[in-house]
């Protein structure tokens, strides 16, 4: 008897709680969108810049009246740079915070793992940095390219296989290296990036002398660099997050590894202000692929850069910040086109129809090859000249003359 009583009272409490939960949804409060970023851990530098940019955009959007009068709010979840934590975070945002859409996604591994959660829950996920190709390949989620209406992942940034496309011109026309040595971090981002760069080398007739991986967070790169030095490459191509990138250059300088014509980074760590802070003098002359530069002739690019510096100080954002800032504006645009009904389905439909201009460039989700819902973009080349990141390629957009050939002994002050 007692047990039945207990059960009944438990059921009543349960019913009440469910009812109360339902009442919590209001039609006038902010529209909440979940954002997954690495806010602590080794990738926190990137996460912080992206969060700042999301917040900057949010303030501007809400100051202009928000989404049809309702403010937009970003709910952040820290993925700490680990795929399992990222999955749990995505799940929490979807189930607990009941967001109708996810954004963010920094490292490739975390983004891919979290994308599977979004896909399973049928929640649109606008990825703005995670770059491994398979994120927008339905094949990786047991779907086909014809399943656009069942595929919930969208991507603003180009995939890693296209990062170096802007670099090709510079290599072909100016440097003409005969050989390259590839160094990459060993998670999805680095491995896939290295593979596609090796293909580029084949195409350009550059001989790949070595392809070595390390795990992110390595402190001593000297054995790796000494192996590279032994092969006497014309260029060193590196795919690294920011601390690894800084250490690679610092230790190259310490070793007096001055024989290559070029040190080239594949974006990520090599364009970050934190790279300069940590690599010091060894920053000078380093070239990197990039997806954006504040001097590009895109409306709002320079304004965004200046606003960011004004608000947060420091050295200003690189392409990661621009990606996040633009993602926030794409979200605002998408929500405005939802006609006041903010469900995953209406948002997905609005994402499909997106065709707008952002500070990062035009955004439109298209399909090509194995990919769908992928935004196509040009990539560029930057170089650290006198401690500043300058856009050097393509020539018609460049804001500085590239430094080449480089006498490392002088630029590094050896």
């Amino acid at each position: 008897m007692k047990l039945t009583k207990l059960l009944i009272s438990l059921l009543v409490i349960a019913g009440l709680a469910v009812g109360l939960n339902g009442c919590g949804k209001s039609e006038s409060g902010p529209i909440k969108i979940g954002v997954l970023l690495p806010l602590t851990g080794p990738q926190a530098n990137f996460g912080e810049m992206e969060k700042n940019s999301f917040e900057l955009a949010k303030e501007e959007i809400n100051a202009k009246g928000g989404i049809n009068g309702r403010p937009v709010e970003f709910v952040y979840e820290d993925d700490t740079g680990k795929p399992d934590v990222g999955r749990a975070g995505a799940e929490k945002l979807i189930v607990q915070d009941k967001v109708p859409m996810l954004a963010g996604g920094y490292s490739s591994s975390v983004t891919f793992a979290a994308a599977a959660v979004a896909q399973q829950h049928r929640i649109p996920f606008l990825v703005n940095t995670g770059s491994v190709d398979k994120i927008t390949e339905p094949e990786a989620f047991d779907l086909t390219t014809n399943d656009g209406d069942k595929f919930y992942i969208y991507r603003l940034n180009p995939p890693v296989s296209e990062y170096a496309s802007g670099l090709e011109g510079l290599l072909k026309e100016v440097v003409k290296p005969a050989s390259a040595f590839i160094i990459h971090e060993n998670s999805a981002f680095g491995t896939k990036g290295a593979k596609s760069f090796a293909k580029t080398c084949d195409k350009l007739g550059i001989k790949v002398l070595g392809n070595e991986s390390y795990s992110s967070g390595t402190v001593d790169f000297k054995p790796l660099l000494m192996n590279a030095r032994k092969t006497k490459p014309d260029m060193v191509y590196m795919i690294s997050y920011v601390m690894d990138a800084a250490l690679l250059m610092k230790q190259s300088r310490e070793l007096g590894f001055t024989t290559p014509k070029l040190f080239v980074g594949a974006g990520a760590g090599f364009t970050m202000p934190a790279f300069k802070e940590n690599a010091g003098e060894a920053t000078e002359g380093v070239i990197s692929a990039t997806l954006w530069h504040q001097t590009l002739p895109i409306k709002g690019a320079k304004e965004y850069y200046d606003k960011y510096v004004k608000k947060y100080g420091g050295d200003g954002p690189d392409y990661h910040g621009a990606e996040a800032y633009s993602a926030a504006y794409v979200i605002a645009d998408v929500l405005t086109r939802c006609n006041g009904e903010y469900t995953p389905e209406t948002i997905k439909k609005a994402l499909d129809e997106t065709n707008m201009m952002t500070v990062f460039g035009p955004v439109k989700f298209t399909s090509y090859g194995k990919k769908i819902h992928q935004n196509k973009m040009d990539t560029y080349v930057v170089q650290w000249i006198n401690g500043e990141l300058k856009l050097i390629w393509p020539k018609n957009l460049a804001n500085a003359k590239f430094m080449y050939p480089i006498d490392w002994k002088t630029v590094w002050g050896l």
Partner: protein
């Protein structure tokens, strides 16, 4: 006394209540997916803690490489899925077995070592597997990891599977420790040479302890794969996130006690979440960076003041509490 001896397994009233309480627990948090998720992790850590405790706490073979068995269990579930689309659920059957086989093979090497050398040997095996699974891309998909769309969105089925496995792991340790083998384990822990001199086949019994231990570590790994739907070598063969945490759970809860690992798992997950979430968002954000530090301090405190762990030194804690109470009332 004579009567009791014939019973292989005895479950006390308190234990029944704890099991029942654990079964009701997720319903109390029915509207918090987040807490339900934590409960599932606690159960997984109970499995791992028990696994380590049998080998280290009861048999005296302190392993620093339980991630090796956890990881091999996870990959045993994941690889057939990755290559042949065989459901990872079968991993619950063969994840444990794969770990037992690995444990036996590694045992041939590491059981030749004693004390700290054994610990270092096991540590190395975990690290070697992490590196090998990261590099051999043709087999394991390397650092890209293996992704699987999980079967259910709801947490309840996972919780009850984890709970059942955790209870079974506790009962299996309890049963073994009541049997003859259990006494042999203890004698090996106290003095391996003396045990051998008394005619105990120490090699055989160390292997038996290893087999049961690795079975639960492998099963926990397979469960992790099924539940999380994503593994990569850095996650499942992690030295500090798996091997070390497993040891800390044993130490905090109480080495060589039946319920120690369960208590250790509870404390560990709670402390970790408390700090990771910056005391549920009440404290400033930087607090979330402190969780490793706080956990380290907790371990130092336990080792210094409660060398037997929370359960092993329960009398000490209870006495202290009584003592300080008396002090307060008298002053």
């Amino acid at each position: 006394m004579e009567k009791e001896k014939t019973k292989i397994l005895e479950i006390s009233k308190t234990e029944y209540i704890i099991f029942l309480g654990a079964a009701v627990l997720p319903f109390l948090f029915f509207n918090s997916f987040y807490i339900q998720g934590l409960l599932i992790f606690i159960m997984m850590w109970v499995m791992l803690g028990n696994s380590w405790n049998l080998l280290a706490g009861y048999t005296g073979q302190v392993s620093f490489g339980h991630a090796a068995y956890f990881g091999i269990g996870a990959y045993a579930a994941a690889l057939p899925y990755f290559h042949y689309k065989i459901s990872p659920w079968w991993g619950l059957l063969y994840g444990g077995l794969a770990a037992v086989i690995l444990g036996y093979l590694l045992g041939i090497l590491v059981f030749k070592l004693r004390g700290p050398y054994f610990a270092l040997g096991t540590l190395a095996t975990g690290e070697i597997l992490r590196l090998v699974f990261g590099e051999e891309e043709w087999l394991t998909n390397g650092h890209n990891g293996i992704l699987y769309t999980t079967t259910w969105v709801s947490k309840y089925p996972y919780y009850f599977i984890a709970l059942a496995l955790a209870i079974l792991s506790i009962l299996s340790v309890k049963m073994v420790m009541k049997s003859k083998a259990g006494f042999y384990f203890l004698s090996i822990r106290e003095d391996e040479d003396a045990a051998a001199a008394l005619g105990i086949n120490t090699k055989k019994y160390k292997n038996i302890s290893m087999a049961i231990s690795t079975f639960w570590a492998g099963t926990a790994g397979a469960f992790y794969m099924i539940y999380m739907g994503f593994i990569d070598p850095e996650v499942v063969f992690a030295l500090h996130n798996i091997s070390i945490i497993t040891i800390l759970i044993g130490i905090i809860g109480g080495v060589g006690t039946i319920w120690g690992p369960a208590i250790g798992a509870l404390v560990m997950v709670f402390v970790q979440e408390l700090f990771r979430s910056a005391i549920f968002g009440l404290a400033p954000h930087w607090v979330s960076g402190l969780h490793a530090l706080i956990f380290g301090l907790l371990v130092i405190t336990v080792i210094l003041y409660l060398p037997g762990g929370i359960l092993g030194d329960w009398d000490l804690i209870a006495n202290k509490f009584k003592f300080s109470k008396r002090m307060r009332s008298s002053s």
